[in-house]
Amino acid sequence: MNILRRLFPAMFSAFHAKDEPAHGDEQTRTDSSLSVEELQKRFCHVHDACVKELQVNAQAVTLFYVRSLIDAEQLREGILLPLVHGDYDCASRAIISDQVKPVPNLEKAIEQTLQGAVIVFGEGQVFAVHIPSTISRSIESSEQEAIVYGPKDSLSEQLDQNLTMIRRRLPVPELKYCLFTLGTLSKTNVALLYIEGIANPENIRLAFEKTSNIDFDVFFDSSHVSAFLEDHMGSVFPQFQQTDRPDAVAAALASGKIVWLVANTPFALIAPVTFFDLFQSPEDYIHRWMVSSFLRSLRFFAFLFAIVLTPVYVALTTHHYYSIPLEVLYLLMESRSEIPFTPIWEAMFMLLTLEILKEASLRMPTKSGQTLGIVGGIVVGQAAVEANVASNILIIHIAVSAIASFLVPNYLMTNSSKLIQFALLILAAWLGMWGIIFGMVWVLIHLTGLTSLKQPYFAPLTPMYWRDWKDTIVRLPLKMMKQRPGHLRPVAKSRMKKEIR
């Protein structure tokens, strides 16, 4: 942390100014231009901006706030009642809250108001009391990464609440938390989390540098933030892991990764990630290790299957008829004999139909989504075969590859695989199996060159970290994973008690 302090003196001093509570001597340095009238002028035509005037011990105290941003209950209990019924000589003494901050000038006052503060004017003093409204949904279980066993809570849109969930899992002071406010319009709070003494300092430095260099107007989701943090714009692969599972976040932190929490979105960003990380599910650590090794390798197989199956069908039926066993060739020729399209158009047409169906059922309410799935899957597929638009073997291929693509726990990766599939399809129609493998070599070159937070994306594979293979394609017993993943180059390598501190 000391290194960081030296590197970013300005930033650190800014954090500390924000975090320090109101002191008496600071209140005196109030800008003369700051007044209720000025504030009202700036909040002209903002109808939920309220001004409340009170008499406290024969002194006039004025409160200014935006009604929709504050918690009415807290206003009454924490500010109005103590002020009216209290027996204090000074308004600032009456309000006991850790969220009292001095307001030096008008701009600060506006900023504080919009963050959910009540600005209190009285006795020549101006200060802000933060009582932001905490409208949020309750903690629910994750829909994106649902698991059968294991913790059921998931992150929500509330930054503080998310932090609580993570801190409860990692109650150590080394878990550092730095706040950035990004977006000239959205003023989104983005928190950078890492564990000092585990995460690699170079990664931390890079994360700070990249985050503080972000310049944009609005950030409504962590993906918007990741778009500014990523190393490679022109890649179909997600370079950040997005998750709303606090256990996954905590596990990532504990292995030496860096996490961004973005306010107003339940999805945390994790970096540096590798290609293989995106195939892991928290459930892998709940199953017996043999079972989860099997399931995890199945996922990789399914990913390859999903990408390659339909292109291979096109390659075989367009070029390599001689590679098909005679028995299968017989079936294929029978099913394709009446179809008016060449294999590539047939496959393109059916794949696009499937993608349309998938996209449509995603945006639909659950009930009608199900109906759509049935209508799409069964009726369209059956009708396409009966109308001789597509061969039934192709329908099987496409259906299997679509199902296989959902085995990948990362939804972004699933959708990336579709794009690769289409590219391979065209190559397959042109140059058969050679084309498919050419496309795959291209993808592999891309993956080898790809980085996430400047760390190799294909990490335990190339560069090779033998030790990390215990938890990559297979998942060996936890007792055997005595060390943190080597490709993250953690400061403290051992997970065991003795060596860590």
């Binding site: 001689y322 058969g432 199996m433 291209w442 592999l444 560069p463 033998w466």
Partner: protein, 377 residues
């Protein structure tokens, strides 16, 4: 990745990756045609003999690399990059590199053309593979070297496939008899030279010192070499067991012919996958040599002080691609010409591999002279 980081070497490569790289550089096109050149069962001793000689050679190269790149001592070649001798040396180096590139690319493309797509012009495959190579090279040397692992994994599984031919009824073990030469073998010197040339490839690593991170790598070099040696013997035995020496003589590319015989229950004629899978090592060699050619040209044209440039690499790509297309069109069109190129590579590749240790002597001499002149000053 920024264009100036083409030759960035801030991150050294792990030792094991060198073993993999040595292995993939050695098993190229020559491995595919090796069984047809050797044919007789007792020629396995020639593989082993050449393998041991190459092992010695690699040991010298590895030790030389260690000695010349001990970080505290010197910076290897770097101080001499601008000298006239170095620039003169680059001319034969360029010729050797282009020759190697021709053999690797054209040899592979020829197989694809012959087995998979007789109707497609070989130029198409050359162009596509050059693009893949350029795309890889554009990521910089560090990524190219890391791609060695991918190239290894994409092509090494084929070894397992050939296991099918180790068991009867496909394997006839009497084809291995007699395993010692009963009369003085003819062409033994030529075969030895051929196997020696087939083991060539790791000599290209002499200038990769900065990526070694100053670690001793000799044993990894040797490990990679032993794996290649095993592969050579394995492939030789497998094709001998299946064909027998008199038949093997007549078969064109025995290893591919072997794969064609395999019938999986869901997929027949596995050459459909095996031939494309050999693409990965070829792309690796293309990318590596493209960067080498670019580096050599920078020395030759006195551009070494300026940062490397993506545009420069692009020019190299265009030039090398054009050269390969010219070769494809006019200089390597018939089987006779193919044999001529193979002979040429056998001599030149073998010689360059054998002479590499001498380079270290030259380097050593240059370094000591430099030190002396520094002292004199």
């Amino acid at each position: 990745m920024k264009s100036s980081s083409l030759f960035a070497h801030d991150k050294p490569l792990q030792p094991w990756m060198w073993a993999v790289l040595v292995n993939r550089m050695q098993v190229g096109y020559f491995m595919l045609i090796l069984p047809n050149v050797l044919v007789q069962p007792y020629m396995v001793w020639i593989i082993l003999l050449a393998g041991c000689l190459a092992l010695l050679n690699l040991w010298v190269i590895g030790k030389g690399l260690e000695a010349s790149y001990q970080q505290h001592e010197t910076e290897g070649w770097r101080p001499f990059m601008g000298s006239v001798w170095m620039r003169v040396l680059m001319v034969p180096c360029l010729v050797i590199m282009l020759l190697k590139l021709t053999i690797v690319v054209k040899g592979y493309v020829g197989i694809v053309h012959q087995i998979l797509f007789p109707s497609v012009n070989t130029g198409t495959f050359i162009v596509l593979m050059m693009f893949a190579g350029y795309y890889l090279a554009k990521h910089g040397m560090w990524t190219v070297l890391r791609f060695g692992v991918i190239a290894f994994l994409m092509s090494a599984w084929i070894l397992v496939l050939y296991g099918y031919f180790l068991l009867p009824p496909e394997a006839n073990y009497s084809h291995l008899y007699p395993i010692i030469p009963l009369q003085w073998p003819s062409h033994w010197l030529e075969s030895l030279l051929f196997v020696w040339a087939a083991f060539a490839g790791p000599e290209y690593f002499v200038v990769l010192g900065p990526w070694t991170g100053g670690k001793p790598l000799t044993k990894y070099f040797l490990a990679g070499h032993v794996v290649s040696l095993f592969e050579y013997v394995y492939f030789f035995f497998v094709s001998l067991l299946f064909f027998g020496s008199p038949y093997l003589k007549t078969v064109d590319i025995a290893l591919i012919q072997l794969v064609r015989y395999i019938q999986l229950p869901f997929f027949e004629r596995v050459e459909m996958i095996v031939v494309p899978a050999y693409m990965a090592p070829v792309v690796l060699v293309i990318a590596l040599l493209m960067l080498y050619v670019y580096g050599a040209l920078r020395i030759l044209l006195k551009r070494i002080r300026k940062p490397p440039h993506a545009g420069g690499l692009f020019m190299v790509f265009l030039a090398v691609g054009g050269y390969l297309l010219i070769v494809d069109r006019w200089l390597w069109t018939s089987e006779i010409q193919r044999r001529m190129w193979e002979q040429l590579q056998m001599v030149v590749g073998g010689a360059s591999f054998a002479l590499t240790p001498a380079l270290f002597l030259v380097l050593h001499a240059m370094q000591s002279r430099r030190r002396k002149s520094e002292k004199a000053q």
